[in-house]
């Protein structure tokens, strides 16, 4: 009887410990994607493009830009529920700038922004409209730029910024690596975020001199972050040396205890 109770208790305890099921629960798709995703024509094409975008990667869905109600098919495109639809060419920067106000400001003050409405490019000209890619220097390329003008000046700007972008990316990866092992990287991540923002503000700059001087300032900031990261790396190395000494000491002590026991066995 007591054993029955014990086994019942064990079963109950075990049942409390068993992990189960698939932990991964995908967010339900919006009605926009359900409807447009099934369409084969140009009304369905944006869904496929969006799936490859930086917006999809960050869970920014159709309603994030176009408004409307993503949960109610009947009112999904109702202006009463905030549906905006497709912006006109001149409204496009303002459309994107609702979420990217800093970039909008940089764009409007640039040669590109000043040519808005007069044949100048809008955001989607370079960044795409649904297959929006992460803003990197690879967007400044001969094929894209020569649609409107020569690549000469753009090449100089890109070359000046290329090293800085690689540094930002490298430091970002190092911070991410430390963050994934429990290092408090909040201050470093914020520092990099500020540097990256300054750097991105240059993406719409066409003044070569300013790009070069700003790149130097940004590189100096990156050097400070690099120094902090090196300090963490050095501390990690010192820990490993200490660890090696501790482990070797413990193994030597274990061996000594073993030898001592052997001497008692002989006695």
């Amino acid at each position: 009887m007591n054993m029955l109770r014990a086994s019942t208790l064990i079963l109950a305890l075990l049942s409390l410990m068993l992990p189960a099921g698939s932990p991964c629960a995908q967010a339900p798709e919006t009605v926009c994607i359900q409807c447009h995703g099934s369409l084969q024509d140009k009304l369905g094409a944006p869904v496929g493009l969006w799936r490859t975008s930086i917006h999809a990667e960050n869970d920014i869905s159709c309603n994030g830009c176009h408004g409307g109600d993503p949960k109610d098919a009947a009112y999904a495109m109702s202006p009463a529920r905030g549906f905006i639809g497709v912006p006109s060419e001149v409204d496009t920067p303002g459309f994107c700038g609702r979420c990217h106000p800093g970039v909008l400001k940089d764009y409007l003050s640039s040669a590109h922004g000043k040519a808005l409405g007069n044949g100048g490019p809008t955001c989607v000209t370079c960044h795409g409209n649904h297959d929006i890619v992460k803003a990197t220097l690879s967007l400044i390329n001969e094929k894209s730029c020569t649609r409107c003008h020569s690549f000469e000046r753009a090449r100089i700007i890109r070359d000046a910024m290329q090293g800085t972008e690689a540094s930002i990316q490298g430091i970002g990866e190092r911070i991410g690596g430390f963050q994934a092992t429990g290092v408090d990287t909040e201050r470093l991540a914020k520092g990099l975020f500020a540097v990256r923002n300054s750097f991105h503000s240059l993406f719409h700059e066409v003044n070569v001199t300013r790009v070069k001087s700003e790149s130097s300032r940004i590189n100096a900031e990156l050097a400070k972050l690099d120094k902090d990261l090196r300090a963490i790396e050095d501390a990690r190395e010192r820990r490993k040396v200490a660890g090696a000494i501790v482990v070797a000491g413990l193994l030597a002590a274990a061996f000594l205890a073993h030898l001592l026991r052997k001497s008692f066995e002989k006695r």
Binding site: L18, A20, L251
Partner: protein, 367 residues
């Protein structure tokens, strides 16, 4: 007479220290063919004590509040001098302790040491195994990270598959419909107060039973490997002419504990991410489910069993039956033979069980 000797004589005259030493240390004789596997129990005692000490130290800075828990652990890892070391010893130590516990159980199985009159030793040992898994699970939630939050969500959710009482039990465990601050409070209380106390008591019972039955003789290096106990009356298994516990086997225990520590520190210093995934360093977010949340390695076989079987209730039942079989093994296996090679059916079952467990764990890890 030196001061030390006078002090010893003072204590001995009053509480008989010399008698205790004779009886429990130098006069406590162990079988001559005792082997290294017998040290695993001492290692486990040490490992549990280490968990208690490091846990107490962590309590100095840990804040069991859903709003502050993650930051407090972050502070321990980065701001408190050697906090990272204490936390890593505690986190890695829980894993190494379970690994040693499994080895201890396997050696007991292989040497037939669970057989009469040691059924209760096995049952209390099995209970300790379950309790240690429970204390590990409740400790998992403490850092309030994405890993903690979602692993606890998944683990507690499985209880809902139990008929009738399941949903109510889940709510009772969580302190609400979902994992939240109430769950942290409950798990924290279980982890730092209730379970350590229960484990301490069961360890005491386990050691008491060991002292009353005596150490079993290993079935190796001797002709007759059958269990000599007939069950007619209580008998302490003594080992006349055996080796003394102190200093001989105590040095063996010390050597084993130092090797255990070397392995533990090896992981702490050279593989500190062993008990963690990157999600362990992201604050819990109930609105964002991470892509791949998996339980600790010792729960992977359970996890995979539940995944491959058609429904969770069947999975729980299969595991419950398997665990009950293991818990009650001394009452099922009544054969007197103890040598593993003279028990082919038993050996085949053990090997199959190990292969199945490892296979399911690897499958669970890769899936």
């Amino acid at each position: 007479m030196s001061l030390l000797k006078r002090l010893y004589r003072f204590v001995d005259l009053r509480i008989g220290v010399g008698e205790i030493t004779d009886k429990e240390l130098t006069g406590y004789l162990l079988p001559r063919n005792i082997n290294g596997w017998y040290s695993l129990g001492s290692i486990l005692l040490f490992a549990f004590a280490l968990q208690v000490v490091t846990g107490m130290l962590l309590l100095v800075y840990y804040v069991p509040d859903a709003e502050k828990a993650f930051q407090s652990v972050n502070h321990i890892m980065n701001g408190v001098p050697y906090g990272w070391l204490i936390r890593l010893i505690h986190a890695v130590g829980s894993n190494t302790m379970i690994a040693v516990l499994i080895l201890h159980m396997l050696s007991t199985l292989a040497m037939g040491s669970y057989k009469s009159p040691r059924e209760l030793n096995w049952v209390t040992g099995f209970l300790l195994f379950s309790l240690v898994q429970g204390i590990s699970l409740t400790g998992y939630l403490a850092p309030w990270s994405q890993l903690s939050f979602w692993a606890t969500t998944v683990a507690t959710n499985s209880v809902s598959a139990l008929p009738v009482a399941g949903p109510g039990m889940v709510e009772f465990l969580r302190g609400g419909k979902l994992v939240g601050p109430s769950t942290l409070g409950r798990f924290f209380a279980l982890h730092v107060a209730f379970l350590p106390l229960v484990i301490g008591v069961v360890i005491a019972v386990h050691v008491f039973l060991l002292k009353r039955t005596g150490i079993s003789t290993p079935p190796f290096g001797k002709g007759d490997t059958k269990n000599a106990w007939q069950g007619e009356s209580y008998r302490y298994e003594s080992h006349p002419g055996g080796i003394p516990f102190f200093p001989d086997f105590a040095l063996h225990d010390l050597s084993s504990i130092l090797i255990y520590l070397a392995v533990l520190f090896g992981v702490v210093f050279f593989w500190p991410t062993m008990p963690f995934t990157p999600d362990a360093f992201v604050p819990a977010d109930p609105f964002k489910t991470p892509a791949h949340i998996k339980p600790e390695w010792y729960f992977l076989a359970n996890y995979q069993t539940l995944k491959i079987l058609p429904n969770e209730l069947l999975g729980l039942t299969v595991q419950g039956v398997a665990m009950t079989f293991l818990a009650l093994l001394p009452f099922i296996d009544r054969s007197p033979e103890r040598h593993p090679l003279k028990r082919p059916l038993f050996l085949a079952l053990v090997v199959t069980g190990i292969v199945l467990w490892v296979g399911l764990s690897v499958w669970g890890h890769l899936s």
